[in-house]
């Protein structure tokens, strides 16, 4: 995982103060979210000892996979505001 952090450190990110993805309150234990711990390419989903899933803000690649897997009933998901978020130089 530390290796993943280093990789994300190579990317250019422009900050959006209001991180636009959030897990809806009370749904932190949904099994679909658990899948994201393994699937998110940026490794941003983590599970604590109680089985609660948390999402850490930095490094989202805006791929949209978590929205597809979990759905809008579990995640508030939108793109960052214009000009913010990841900016690929190579793509």
């Amino acid at each position: 995982m530390s290796d993943l952090k280093a990789k994300l450190g190579l990317d250019v990110f422009k900050e959006d103060k209001a991180f636009p993805i959030a897990i809806k309150k009370g749904l932190e234990r949904d099994p679909r979210l658990k899948k994201m711990v393994l699937i998110c390419p940026a490794g941003l989903y983590g599970e604590d000892e109680s089985g609660k899933i948390a999402l850490s803000a930095d490094g989202c690649l805006e791929c949209g996979t978590c929205l597809l897997v979990c759905g809008a009933d579990i995640l508030d998901w939108q793109y960052p505001r214009g000009g913010a978020g990841v900016q690929f130089r190579f793509g």
């Binding site: 393994l38 791929c63 996979t65 214009g82």
Partner: protein, 433 residues
């Protein structure tokens, strides 16, 4: 801000990716007032591809675009690698037609290409505004009449949604495509910088030549998908594409980002990227459901093109989406030009978009490859068969201390009647693509 009627654009394009820029370029070339709204810092800032664009089928749609386009290398060598756990079999194809101009495909980096393409569209007269996210579309009396961006209401005769795989705009207009996770893949990759001379030496390339390599088997830990490597001018694009459906439902689960690290550590790969420096890590979803996953392509005042419409396809040896994005953007523009002549932007008039697509290579391909995704979702292809193939090769090449077994029994040991019989349904599936 509400615009007066005379400041209404002929067309507003949502998204400055390949589909959107193709539409804008085509419309502007015909003197139409077109506005592109792009949420990235610059066109390309949000866009990821594997890295090979097939130009043959779209060359004529943009005749003066290609000579100066910042493409990376023309693909001169094709290779497929079947990977077992600790061995692999490579099949390399070289053909004189791949060396002849005009070249059929090129490696590409979207950060560079899209930025350049946007400038060409601007030269034709398109207006491109970046750092601007479209937040909503405006629907009046059942027809799309504009968009909301940065708090402004911008009006147009027609909106072209080219906002990529998630396409919120198309969804808001009721033009949803499938949301079944089995119809999508996740692609993620690293761009690894390597000195061009070293790169050419390692891949056996002359100056502008490039190589394309695809990997199947252990790279995806047996999951539906594959790996790719494309050589750029002074870097390689190395990544994986994995079907999301299989990741969600199939056990055992795999740690997705870790697969790319394992891939890089394979001896087949590590020697190719030795001394290289990773300069970017990116990920993006791919709609790969083909025709079965597509939604409606138009409604009153709106058209959908590119990934937003689901114009991407997995044909086994490769994911193709870029030329469909460009072609669908082009045909959407032609439909708008036709609508302007009639001064009618209703669904009935915009329907010509579908006809253009049907008459072109786009829908022909999508119809021909209708079954490809279902055929390819055959777990044995990603685990069992790669192991089987490299197992045979291993035994064929092995020189034991004692006597060597004859060739036929060696092969036969792996390919018993049961194994052969089990291949019948696979062959039947394969005949569909």
């Amino acid at each position: 801000m509400e615009q007066e009627d005379d400041s209404r654009f002929d067309a507003i394009v949502i998204g400055g990716g390949l589909a959107g820029l193709s539409a804008a370029y085509t419309l502007a070339a015909e003197g139409m007032e077109v506005l592109v709204l792009e949420r990235g810092d610059y066109p390309g800032a949000k866009n990821v591809t594997g890295g090979r664009i097939y130009v043959s089928s779209i060359r004529e749609l943009f005749p003066d675009l290609w000579t100066k386009a910042p493409l990376e290398r023309f693909i001169a060598h094709e290779e497929i690698c079947v990977m077992g756990r600790d061995s692999s079999l490579n099949v390399r194809y070289d053909g004189s037609e791949l060396l002849r101009e005009p070249h059929q495909s090129y490696s590409i980096l979207r950060g560079k290409f899209d930025k350049w393409f946007a400038r060409q569209a601007e030269h034709k007269g398109a207006t491109i505004i970046c750092k601007t996210r479209v937040d909503d579309i405006i629907i009046e009396n059942g027809r799309v009449v504009g968009v909301v961006a940065a708090g402004d209401r911008l009006m147009a005769n027609v909106v072209i949604a080219c906002d990529g795989v998630l396409s919120f705009a198309a969804g808001k207009a009721g033009l949803n495509k499938s949301a079944d996770s089995g119809h999508f893949a996740i692609g993620f990759k690293e761009v690894i910088e390597i000195d061009p001379a070293v790169l050419e030496d390692r891949f056996n390339l002359t100056e502008d030549e490039g190589a394309a390599r695809l990997f199947i088997g252990d790279v995806t830990a047996g999951k539906f998908g594959g790996g790719f490597l494309y050589t750029n001018k002074s870097s390689v694009s190395l990544g994986l594409v994995l079907g999301i459906g299989a990741l969600v439902v199939e056990e055992p689960t795999v740690q997705v980002p870790e697969l790319l690290n394992k891939f890089k550590q394979r001896s087949e790969i590590s020697r190719l990227i030795r001394g290289g420096k990773t300069v970017e890590y990116s990920a993006h979803m791919i709609p790969e459901g083909g025709i079965k996953a597509m939604g409606k392509l138009y409604a009153d005042g709106i058209l959908v093109a590119g990934d937003a419409a689901g114009f991407s396809i997995n044909i086994g040896i490769t994911v193709r989406g870029m030329e469909y994005a460009m072609a669908s953007g082009y045909y959407a523009a032609r439909a708008v030009i036709n609508a302007k002549e009639k001064n009618d932007y209703s669904a009935a008039t915009l329907a010509v978009y579908e006809k253009f697509l049907n008459d072109s290579f786009v829908m022909t391909d999508f119809k021909n490859f209708r079954e490809s995704l279902d055929v390819l979702k055959y777990p044995l292809l990603y685990g069992h068969y790669p192991e089987l193939i490299v197992g045979i090769m291993k035994d064929l090449y092995e020189m034991p201390a004692g006597p060597k077994t004859r060739i036929f029994p060696t092969v036969r040991k792996h390919l018993g009647l049961r194994e052969l019989w089990a291949m019948v349904p696979l062959c039947r599936r394969m005949m569909k693509i």
